[in-house]
C-alpha cells in the first residue's frame, strides 16, 4: 500500500517537475546579481556541469560581453553551478560555446515553436525566457502559461 501510494505520488509529480525549476534554496546572491542582471538567472539544471565549467572559464568574452565578476564571486557561482548542474545525458550536447538553447533537450521542448517567433521583437532572443514564459523568474516554464497568445497551448 505504501509502495503504491508512492508510485501514484511520483506519477502525479512528474509532469510538474519538468516545468518547475525554481532556483535552489542555496542560490548565492552573487549568482542572482552577476548572472541575473543581463539575462534571466537561468536554472542551473539547464546545463551540464562540464558546460557550466566552460562557460565560467570564458566570462571575459561571454557572448560578446565581458561578464567577469571577480575571483571570489566567480568561485562561489562555479561551485553553486557544479552542485546543481543538470544531467549531461538528458540535456545532450550544448555546442561550443555552450548554449542552453542548443541543448537537445531545449530544441526538443521547443520544436513546435515556429522560427518567426524567435525573431519576433517581443522575443528577441532564445535567451529571453520571460518573453514567453512570463513566470520564468520563479522557475515556471509551463507550456500552458505562455505570454504570447498565439503560442499558448
Amino acid at each position: 500500500m505504501k509502495k503504491l501510494s508512492f508510485i501514484v505520488l511520483l506519477a502525479a509529480a512528474m509532469p510538474v517537475f519538468a516545468d518547475r525549476m525554481p532556483l535552489p534554496a542555496d542560490t548565492p546572491a552573487s549568482f542572482r546579481n552577476e548572472c541575473g542582471s543581463c539575462h534571466l538567472a537561468y536554472p542551473p539544471a539547464l546545463l551540464a556541469a562540464a558546460d557550466w565549467q566552460r562557460t565560467m572559464a570564458g566570462l571575459k568574452d561571454h557572448f560578446g560581453s565581458d561578464a567577469s565578476a571577480g575571483t571570489q564571486a566567480e568561485r562561489e557561482i562555479a561551485d553553486f553551478l557544479a552542485r546543481h548542474a543538470g544531467s549531461a545525458n538528458k540535456l545532450g550536447s550544448a555546442g561550443s560555446p555552450p548554449r542552453i538553447s542548443q541543448t537537445e533537450r531545449f530544441t526538443r521542448k521547443h520544436r513546435e515553436v515556429p522560427a518567426r517567433y524567435w525573431r519576433d521583437p517581443r522575443v528577441k532572443s532564445a535567451a529571453n525566457c520571460e518573453a514567453c514564459h512570463r513566470d520564468a523568474a520563479n522557475g515556471r516554464f509551463s507550456e500552458h502559461d505562455i505570454a504570447i497568445a498565439e503560442l499558448r497551448r
Binding site: 543581463c38 539575462h39 534571466l40 557572448f63 560578446g64 565581458d66 522575443v123 532572443s125 520571460e130
Partner: protein, 129 residues
C-alpha cells in the same frame, strides 16, 4: 551594557556603507579634478559611439528616456530606470557603479570611461526628472 555599543557600531557601519549619488559623483569629480556637469552627462548618454552594432550607445538598452525602464538589446531582459528620481537604488553602491561603468564603457564606448565622464554621467542621472 556590552551589547549596546556593538549594536550601535553595527548600525553606524551599515549606515556608512550606503552611499548617495552625490558622494559617488563627487568622488569621480575629485579624481578628475573637474566640476561635474549634468549637461555634458546628458550629451554623453545620447552619444552614438558606434563601436558595437547591437549597442551603438547607452540608449540602445536604456532608451532615450532615463526615467523609463530599458531592455537589454541582445537578451531582452528588462532594466530598471537609470535616473535616481525614478529608481532610488541607482548610484547607491560605489563598487557596483564602478563595475557597470567598467563593463558598459568597454562594450559600448570601446574604451574605459574617464573619471570626468563618470562624474558627468552620475550628475545627469541624479538631476534628470
Amino acid at each position: 551594557m556590552r551589547p549596546i555599543p556593538i549594536i550601535l557600531l553595527l548600525l553606524l557601519s551599515s549606515a556608512s556603507q550606503a552611499e548617495t549619488p552625490q558622494q559617488i559623483g563627487q568622488a569621480y569629480a575629485a579624481e578628475a579634478k573637474v566640476t561635474a556637469s549634468a549637461q555634458r552627462g546628458e550629451a554623453f548618454f545620447r552619444q552614438r559611439f558606434g563601436q558595437n552594432d547591437k549597442m551603438p550607445g547607452c540608449t540602445s538598452c536604456h532608451t532615450d528616456n532615463p526615467l523609463k525602464a530599458g531592455e537589454h538589446a541582445v537578451t531582452g531582459k528588462s532594466i530598471r530606470p537609470l535616473a535616481v528620481s525614478a529608481n532610488a537604488d541607482r548610484f547607491s553602491d560605489a563598487a557596483k557603479v564602478e563595475k557597470w561603468f567598467g563593463r558598459n564603457c568597454k562594450e559600448v564606448v570601446g574604451r574605459a570611461c574617464s573619471p570626468g565622464e563618470k562624474a558627468d554621467f552620475v550628475a545627469y542621472m541624479s538631476e534628470v526628472r
